[in-house]
Symmetry: C2
Subunit: 369 residues, 2 copies
């Protein structure tokens, strides 16, 4: 088992080379090993490119017959509309691989154990679960897209040590340190869309752009800017340079004259507590927004948390006290300690003067297989 | 200068040996050095024992004439009522020491540079400020006792990541992890008194005792238990085993039949915002309570913070959200980010699942000399 972990760890390192290039596909790495010798390596390089297993087989300069394939995700066994690659199981069987070691069963319903069955049906020995947690951790976004059928939702906020997003007069610049704000720019650059509620839009007039060290808008792709705003309005004078704008609303609204044509108005149902988040997230997924960064405010955080529609949370906690003000989340509906909302797999690290708390809705150790 | 720091660092290590034994005196260490060789070491061992400089001179087996004395606090130059030791300056002069290197000028008004002047008047070369910050850090309690004329006030709380001491139904057991609660036991064992407000006393019925790993009351000295309770009441059924009890109040009150004779009722002035903290602290100092641990609740924290009557704050922040509940501090009177209350010299570390924030009202780098 231990030697399997050594090779799987190398396969995971290969998988990481696809970071930010394969979305919404998972990152996958593969190694072909015989008698302790690595014959070939492969990884899924970018969206649309060949799969890791096929890449490793293509890179193998000798006949891999009787070799072991290490792969970080169950090989695919299906073809169909929108799929660029033939089933990897077929290529593995044809190549005469005799053993396959897999980190994680593919949660994609088109695979979901089917690849393993097919390999076993052809007499191939299959071992699964080797560094499963590490593989799932690497592909948290993919896991959410597949299992939850919605974008991966990352909540991010800067709060005072006593839990406030802003002071009682609404001021919030700056609660967090420059280092924390730099980290936020990194999060934005890794997102397909950034979402805020109406309050934040009107109070802070946030640009919601990726900017460089000199506060200039970065060249290249900018994440979409998404507003939950039942009345479909954007404030006068709002900074319009940046990514596409999507405004979710549930009222007929007149599009103001002064906004550019790339502002999209998206009607969704809503009730007294706000717009329907499942509808918003489903629509965002259709718009290829796979990684959503939610930047507040209080009502928006409350809504995502109350509905369990979030995956990751990063809070920059500054060593200051405000005593009162705007709480981190409004309407969480927790009334007693026993029903508290827990951050799982929590890590903490210093970010300038702040402490960055990072946690998840689900612990990876509890993942269903 | 660099070699001076090396010896001073050793003197500081000697000083630390007096930890918890010399209060309310400062911890002090001393070294006698000649031609780079350490001739003798000394430190203030316990309250009432001889001073570090005198100890080093007494331990010196050769004649220290022409040697340098390294001492972490300015040597004393006074005698008087309540002082157990003769002035150290006299002993230094008599011994023929030719140079004295001092970390920190003694803030005690009876010294406050007088020791340095006396040494210089006798032709001794004096250098001050070598590792001054480290010396002041070691003696934060002493510095407060002398400069503020009140006990050293350490605020301690366990809060949720969104800043609540308790959920909206008042439950707070347990927000923090077992490791954090163990650390609190350490803080209690290092305190002369533990203070809470009326709300905490009546809601949580806290024992406010030092307990061991099996939750049994530890043998030996227990810190005094102090309640701010304008009506002078303690709840029926409250766990009475533990340290002496002092109840500060501002109303005539009947002492209930069911409480032991070692409960002390202490009248102090008060107004609509609560009891007068300066009066409470002044009285506690008279009772030899030099290190006060304040354990809440919300109103009590607000009162200490609003009045600037605190020195250290330790918050155990648990990775949970409560959404609403009892805030960390009530009545802090901060309305805008610009007037936020900052924790200085902040450090953070993991304590089980929690992050322990530790900070101070004053940064040591800003200390007046």
């Amino acid at each position: 088992m231990q030697i399997d972990e050594v090779f799987m760890r190398e396969a995971l390192e290969l998988a990481k080379r696809g970071w930010d290039k394969v979305f919404p596909n998972p990152m996958v790495g593969a190694l072909i090993v015989r008698d302790g010798e690595v014959l070939a390596k492969g990884w899924h390089e970018r969206y649309g490119a060949i799969h890791a297993e096929a890449a490793a087989l293509a890179n193998c300069l000798c006949d891999p017959i009787g070799a072991t394939l290490f792969v970080t995700l169950e090989p695919c066994c299906h073809s169909g509309k929108g799929k660029h690659n033939p089933p990897c199981t077929d290529a593995i069987i044809r190549a005469g691989i005799s053993r396959v070691v897999i980190a994680r069963v593919d949660p994609n319903p088109s695979v979901a154990g089917g690849g393993i069955s097919k390999l076993r049906d052809h007499g191939i020995s299959v071992l699964t679960g080797v560094l499963e947690e590490e593989s799932a951790r690497l592909n948290r976004v993919y896991e959410t897209l597949i299992r939850e059928e919605r974008p991966y939702v990352h909540l991010k906020a800067a709060i005072s040590l006593d839990g406030f997003l802003a002071a009682s007069d609404g001021t919030s610049k700056w609660i967090s340190s420059a280092e924390s704000r730099d980290t936020v720019m990194h999060f934005r650059s890794q997102s397909d869309g950034i979402l805020t509620g109406r309050g934040t839009l009107f109070t802070d007039l946030p640009s919601l752009t990726v900017r460089d060290g000199e506060n200039k808008i970065s060249p290249g792709r900018q994440p979409a800017r998404i507003f939950l705003n039942s009345r479909g309005k954007i404030p006068e004078g709002w900074q319009k340079e940046g990514g596409q704008v999507h405004i979710y609303h549930n009222q007929c609204c007149l599009i103001p004259e002064n906004i550019k044509s790339d502002v999209h108005f998206c009607p969704v149902p809503g009730d007294s507590k706000g717009l329907s988040l499942p509808h918003v997230l489903s629509d965002l997924r259709k718009k290829n927004i796979h990684r959503l960064l939610v930047e507040g405010g209080s009502k928006t955080f409350g809504s995502f948390l109350r509905n369990g529609l979030w995956d990751r949370m990063t809070l920059f906690v500054a060593p200051i006290l405000l005593g009162e003000g705007i709480p981190f989340s409004d309407g969480l509906e927790v009334s007693t300690v026993a029903s508290k909302l827990k951050l799982r797999d929590m890590t903490s690290s210093r970010c300038g003067n702040d402490v960055m708390f990072n946690g998840y809705r689900e612990a990876l150790t509890c993942l269903p297989v």
